[in-house]
């Protein structure tokens, strides 16, 4: 059993609700589903204008960065609220990958190079990406590049949001984490299941990087925060699916009744509501543990991911099914949510990987 120090605060503060309202307003104006769909078919899957509004306009890229480094000095609790709203909009911005994961990796590195880079990421004018496959669990193995004669060589696959990144944080076989200019590597975009968080292969061919610190603790910290806060994105996503499906079923009529009046469907939606309510508690718990630097963080993150990932997929699958034929069309945005939810269920470790981690953490060993 892991000790549970102080009681977690599972509610939202007034300031967090105000932050949510501001982000939601911005997304309502600048991130409508039609535009997201159109963008996924273009050469620029990310939305730079939206990113600029979020980072430069609202300072959100620097939430986790201390004030003396040009950030907001806020916590994971606030970042989680932002991610809920970004999930609700399947916003095509590199927030989770740059403002959370790459930022957390830099926060684990001492040195002036990392500190300077943090300030750049906090401004949002520079976007960072940790060059570790998106599917890697916090305690999972990941690929590295060779470090020979001061130069990096190798290939890294499954890296998210490289298309938007200016700088890559590359783990090397010598145990170091290196900052590499995105222009200095070859980025090969892959056709991704989730078009709003595209993946690429990164080829590093004799590139000089700046050593930021040890890769081990930096990657673990980054992926733990990524996994923990991903639950909030999944919460927002699932909540959108539920809300939209309920709205649709109140309007849609069949057999001379609103479809939402049929008990078979009502029970499915009530069940989904219950799952979303539980996900909210789990996601808040993870965000609060990360914010507090609690000794319970490992358990809180594993529980949140093991629970939230299948719920988000279930919510999106139910939304597709209960929208009927229209749910199968490219035109209706629900497919964006299904693709994001399914990709999220693999990102930063599957539910199964998090359950395995939990088995070790809470002493429920395998046979």
């Amino acid at each position: 059993m892991t000790a549970q120090g102080t009681q977690p605060d599972l509610l939202y503060s007034e300031e967090e609700e105000a932050l949510r309202a501001a982000v939601r307003d911005l997304l309502t104006d600048h991130c409508d589903p039609g535009r997201v769909i159109a963008r996924t078919e273009s050469d620029t899957p990310h939305d730079p204008a939206l990113w600029k509004a979020l980072s430069e306009g609202m300072g959100l890229a620097g939430l986790l960065v201390p004030e003396e480094r040009g950030g907001q000095g806020a916590t994971h609790r606030e970042a989680a609220v932002v991610l809920e709203e970004l999930g609700r909009a399947v916003a095509p911005v590199p927030y989770l990958t740059s403002a959370v994961v790459a930022t957390e990796a830099l926060l684990a590195c001492p040195g002036e190079d990392a500190a300077a880079l943090l300030t750049e990421l906090a401004s949002g004018r520079t976007v960072g990406a940790l060059a570790v496959a998106l599917s890697t669990a916090p305690d999972g193995a990941h690929r590295t590049v060779r470090h020979e004669d001061g130069l990096l060589h190798g290939e890294l696959t499954g890296i998210a949001d490289v298309a938007a990144a200016d700088v890559l944080l590359v783990p090397a076989a010598d145990g170091g984490l290196y900052a590499v200019d995105a222009n200095a590597v070859t980025v090969t975009p892959r056709v991704s299941l989730d078009l709003t968080r595209p993946l690429a292969t990164v080829t590093v061919d004799g590139v000089r990087g700046r050593r930021l610190g040890d890769a081990g603790p930096a990657v673990r910290r980054a992926l733990t925060a990524g996994a923990g806060l991903l639950a909030s994105e999944q919460l927002g996503l699932a909540d959108w699916c539920l809300t939209e499906t309920v709205r649709h079923l109140k309007e849609r009529r069949q057999f001379n009744r609103p479809v939402g009046g049929f008990q078979a469907l009502k029970h499915r939606l009530a069940q989904l509501w219950l799952e979303v309510v539980h996900t909210r508690a789990a996601a808040r718990h993870a965000a609060d543990a990360l914010a507090a630097g609690s000794a319970d963080t490992g358990v809180a993150v594993a529980v949140a991911q093991a629970y939230a990932a299948p719920v988000a997929v279930h919510a999106a699958e139910e939304a597709v099914q209960l929208h009927g034929g229209i749910g199968m069309t490219w035109e209706h945005p629900v497919h964006l949510y299904l693709k994001r939810a399914k990709a999220d269920s693999i990102a930063y470790g599957t539910a199964g990987a998090h359950r395995e981690a939990l088995a070790r953490l809470v002493d429920l060993q395998a046979p």
């Binding site: 059993m1 029970h267 009530a270 509501w273 309510v277 789990a282 718990h285 529980v303 939990l358």
Partner: protein, 402 residues
């Protein structure tokens, strides 16, 4: 609320600590008889601090009860065993407070809280379970009395109870929700017959109650004639709200014994059970966090609709966990601790074996509102989905097909 002179302001935590210290000084718990201590506590307004003065409270915020409870527990004071008197505390008391006359509140609340008088609830009937408003027990006015005839079922504690809250039909000529009236029934009336109802666990935790010519004085009516359904809503709401008050530690529920067995008995482990155990462990932890979140919302004075769903989650989870536990025990899972017919005062999950937990938890999705009815409630009241078409809405109760 009462005629006692009201305090100018509701007491705060400091004031409650002072009053608690005063009570402890005047009635040292170790030298005072249990009942006498509880009566003194009630009279000091420290029983349920959110109740009005003179009725065991001080009109303080409900959340401050925890302050008093902590001080009393630290001093080793006796508690009023809220589980045994759960129906009185959780259902009868808030209804009497909300709808009772001054005489009724003064007569019933003190012995109820002290635990001197146990209460039971005569709501469900063989023909009216989930469709509670379809109830057929009749109440006919005769002078100052009402004469009750009918049958109730699933009544816990009926064999221990001094009083019952009872709903009965006083007007069969109006639609079913309208002709119901709410009473306090004297369980010692000669017309009350309580028969144990043996369940799948072997024990008789519930009873059937036969009411034959039971006389209830009109002064024991709660609320207006014909308004019993509205009064009953208060009771039922409180029944479902009562969860969430307590802080539960990790592995505090049914998952605890299973996890313990898993750790202590490596020879029982299989890969399939491991997968299922971890999944249920996660769900139990998330359920616990959801309860904790609901509790924090209540403390912050912003109750959310989460409460209506919690019971649904726990019911399914308890069933799955206890089912897994029986399997985990393998050969032992084929055995059962004891089939002797008993009439327990309390449902004691942890004092009995996995087989008992498995069988008893089947009731979790039926008692206090079936999971199907609760799903409808969530869908309609939380999500705002249309209700089922109703064919009984405008039909007099007597004309309904039965």
């Amino acid at each position: 609320m009462t005629d006692a002179a009201p305090r100018s302001t509701a007491p705060d935590a400091t004031e409650l600590r002072r009053l608690t210290a005063e009570l402890l000084a005047a009635h040292p718990p170790l030298e005072t008889d249990r009942t006498a201590f509880l009566e003194a506590r009630f009279d000091a307004g420290l029983a349920w601090v959110h109740y009005p003065e003179g009725l065991g409270g001080l009109g303080a915020p409900r959340t401050l009860q925890a302050v008093v409870d902590a001080e009393l527990e630290a001093a080793g004071a006796p508690d009023n065993d809220p589980r045994r008197i759960g129906i009185g505390l959780g259902m009868a008391a808030p209804t009497i407070l909300g709808f009772g006359t001054r005489e009724q509140r003064e007569r019933f609340l003190r012995p109820l809280w002290v635990g001197e008088e146990v209460w039971c609830q005569l709501f469900s009937e063989p023909g009216a379970g989930s469709d509670l408003a379809a109830l057929g027990t009749r109440a006919v006015r005769e002078g100052d009395d009402w004469v009750i005839d009918g049958q109730k079922v699933w009544t816990s504690s009926a064999h221990l109870a001094r009083w019952a809250i009872l709903i009965a039909r006083t007007d069969p000529s109006v639609p079913k929700h309208r002709g119901i009236t709410y009473f306090v029934c004297d369980m010692t009336d000669p017309g009350v017959e309580v028969r144990p109802l043996r369940q799948i666990t072997g024990e008789a935790e519930f009873n059937e109650v036969f009411l034959t010519g039971v006389r209830i004085p009109d002064s024991h009516r709660l609320g207006e004639v014909g308004d019993g359904w509205r009064v009953a809503q208060t009771t039922l709401m409180n029944e479902r709200v009562s969860i969430g008050g307590m802080r539960i530690p990790r592995e505090g529920g049914m998952i605890g014994p299973v996890a313990k067995t898993w750790r202590e008995r490596p020879e029982l482990r299989t890969h399939d059970l491991h997968q299922r155990l971890l999944k249920l462990w996660v769900e139990a932890e998330v359920g616990r966090l959801t309860g904790e979140r609901l509790r924090q919302q209540l403390v912050a004075g912003q109750p959310g609709p989460e409460g209506s769903g919690l019971k649904l989650g726990f019911a399914r989870l308890n069933q799955e966990i206890s089912g897994l536990e029986v399997e985990l025990r393998g050969e032992e899972g084929l055995l059962y601790d004891d089939w002797t017919m008993r009439r327990p005062e309390l449902v004691d999950f942890t004092g009995r074996d996995a087989g008992y937990r498995y069988l008893r938890s089947k009731g979790n999705s039926i008692e206090g509102g079936t999971s199907e009815v609760l799903l409808n409630i969530v869908a309609e009241r939380v999500l705002g989905l249309p209700s089922e078409p109703r064919t009984d809405k405008d039909v007099a109760w007597k004309d309904l097909a039965r």
